[in-house]
Symmetry: C2
Subunit: 168 residues, 2 copies
């Protein structure tokens, strides 16, 4: 294989949440019900918020800016043994892109503010993209989920295992 | 706001599909049932494929390398009027990150090859990440979906509207 290509991303906004540190942050939106916050979208991108009101959920795509570097295997929050990273949602990924289906409460296109709920994201996280959640595209309620279907630990909040060392 | 931060991504693999051009490519995995292909994962990332077998679907996160530059509003494939880009899944995004929940058929960890089905992706697309599809995290079957719930056009395949000009 040739050398991997590289691509450049830019932050298009910032996600504001109640969570300042990884310890205690919900590990998925389903474990964060009722947690509210805001997505601030920078000026050049605000016109693209049109027509977003009416979607009950949106995908936030963001940069795991405070995660430890890529680890090929990790002990996930909901298990006791190491698993291949791509079989987990851990943040220590080769490209640390996060993905959360959060609940959309309101859209202020003029000021670039979305009120959102069910947040599993650290305060100040750089936003990369917003996509509408579309059940007919995204919802597969009965898809088998490997080790997660037989999970060993019923944990809903993070600890510090994926925290960048410089944060300690 | 301060100047937006920038981040660097690297390709961790390549997605092989039957689709050489945008025209005729399915616009979502649900419209690509039975289409098969392969995800080639580069050497350094193959150990991270452990434990992926057993997941019926995976999220492929990839780079829309042949999409037109960001457009604030687009006429989506399934509508007749312009919509805010973030209310659509169009590829011409500020950060052209694609997201597809494809069906996982088999995993060859040693050679870094996943056989996959239900592909809505162009052949040769750079891979950025793989995440397991987890219904308890990702599936919201009854979430309202704004304009898509009232869609005007029942289209399932792409045309050339989001194609980079240099491709013509």
């Amino acid at each position: 294989m040739s050398d991997p290509d590289t691509f450049k991303l830019k932050s298009i906004g910032v996600i504001h949440t109640p969570f300042k540190v990884q310890e205690g942050t919900p590990i998925q939106p389903v474990y964060a019900e009722g947690t509210t916050g805001a997505v601030e979208v920078f000026g050049p991108y605000r016109a693209s918020l049109a027509d977003l009101a009416g979607f009950e959920r949106i995908w936030l795509v963001y940069w795991f800016d405070r995660a430890k570097a890529n680890q090929p295997k990790v002990v996930p929050f909901r298990d006791t043994v190491p698993r291949g990273l791509f079989a987990t949602r851990a943040p220590s990924r080769p490209n640390p892109i996060g993905l959360s289906p959060v609940r959309l409460l309101s859209v202020d296109e003029l000021h670039g503010i979305l009120r959102v709920a069910d947040l599993d994201i650290l305060d100040g996280t750089p936003l990369l993209d917003i996509k509408p959640y579309v059940p007919s595209f995204d919802s597969f309620p009965s898809a088998a989920a490997g080790w997660i279907d037989r999970l060993a630990v019923d944990r809903e909040k993070a600890d510090r295992r994926f925290e960048k060392d410089s944060d300690s």
